[in-house]
Amino acid sequence: MRVTAAPAPKDRNRMSPAARREAGIFYLTVSPWIIGFVLFTVIPMSVSLYLSFTRWNVLTPPVWIGLNNYVEMFTKDPDFYQSLKVTFLYTITSVPLQLIIALGLAVLLNEATIAIGFFRTAFYIPSIVASVASAVLWQWIFNPRFGPVNGLLRGVGLGSPNWFNDPNYALAALVIMSTWGVGGQMLIFLAGLKGVPRSLYEAAEVDGASRLTRFFKITLPMLSPTIFFNLIMAMIGAFQTFDSAFVISTARAGQIGAPLKSTLFYLLHLYEEGFKFLNMGYASALAWFLFIIILTVTVIINRSSKNWVFYSGEE
């Protein structure tokens, strides 16, 4: 992101009284954020880094155990691997699927001339439905016996999976469900599409480029910064999936991550360790490990972006 703030005076010691006063007011106005940042981000994160090296159950004082939590994570906690696997599988399937569907819808909308408002609303509305409501709803839609999905599948003779009750299908159902909420990403793509200069398409058309060529040679490269943004945000979101998996797996006396831990997302595991078993030290280690994973993946995508994200020159 480019930051365009006025340059600060170079020589701090020789600020005029007026400049000094202005700086004072600046720090006064931004103080809520600075205080909040220290209080709700810096201190908690430092404390949790410390706690990740301790055993702590909230009731008795923390006991320093060095790297034991991290060692335990990798050697003695099968749920840790399971949660990593679930989260990873979900991320690599749902994120590309979401991006492709969002982009497809945006391109279609961009091609339409009438009733755009209606279609845009239809695609966007699901994304503002509360995650809990949509989880409750999709449970019903994927109901093995009376749900419309299996009704349709039976109708065309494709069998009827048990979806959220079957460990082999539960995660797939969550992936499908996640594509219902791509409205926000679609709007961002649509805004990106509006920013592609029309002249590029007209020039390509004159040269006889087909619609497909125009899409791959103009639309995709021009849209790459938007794709990059949506990709990063969708990944960070997918790594932190919680609401839908929690609501669905705990429905009707189910276990967190049920059936058979097939939807035990990383955050669900963290929640269980921290807030159900009160292993706050261990949960802090889990949180820090997730933070490092997300940071690493973001940096990798960011590095790779030099090869595929195309920024048109300064405006």
Binding site: A5, A23, V30, F40, L51, T113, F119, L137, F242, S284
Partner: protein
Amino acid sequence: MATETVIAPIPTNVSRGLSNRNNRRFRFSLHDIVVYSLLILLSLVFLFPLFWMITSALKPENQIFLWPPRWIPEPLQWSNFQTAFSNPQLPFGRFIVNTLVIELGVVTGRLISCTLVAYGFARLRAPGKNILFTLLLATLMLPRAAILIPEYILFNQLGWVNTILPLVVPAWFGEAYAIFLMRQFFMTIPRELEEAAIIDGAGTPTLIWKVIVPLSTPVLSVIAILTFKDTWNDFLTPLLYLSEPSKYTVAVGLAYFNGQNDVKLNLLMAASVALMLPILVLFAFAQRTFVEGISLTGLKG
């Protein structure tokens, strides 16, 4: 520039350029037929779950488990809403009030704090400002999961668990995304207006309240509406901090309802509609604000 997009209406006639060339204003080409068939089909797919939710919410119990389904229930059982709301163990009316109280605290807090901070970043010069602003943008990337545990520990130490304070108080300390959007908007307001006010002897609070705020209703309403939506839909924070059923928000109440053993599906769907409805109504009234607010997310200044 991102800021221009706040005000600029989204063009609605983008592909006119192509069809105008052949002067075919009212004839549908093959391309149009494909586009509109896909759009109609896909919009039905996207709207179907909502239709399914509403029609299930209006069904008598004996019509829920039917295949083929009865698409339009006969009769429409509006009393499902009443029944869902009058369960003494799940006082949804109470949950709505709880959520609205939290909303009031969060939306007010976020508007006030973010306006203040964004004004500083947009207008005032000071050493260290660029570093602070970069830091602010960096926090946008910070996964919330990483501070879940330590934040809980902090609020637990303060004795705030099982109160709404952990949900409301942080909103009074600004939020990076809102600050960023507001700063971008404030920078488009001509400085001359403030300079005139300064000559009249206005101080910073007066400048913000009398000059900046009245001119910034577009961006303020984007922030207010998106904040309202996120707070209304939030599940994890109230789940962590509000353990007493009488303090639940609507989202937590619905999840709790969903977890019960002998739940009636039509009532469950009625409660889901209730959770969804306020946001849909808000959307109906402020569609442009929603759309522009989200579109802005992807644009970088």
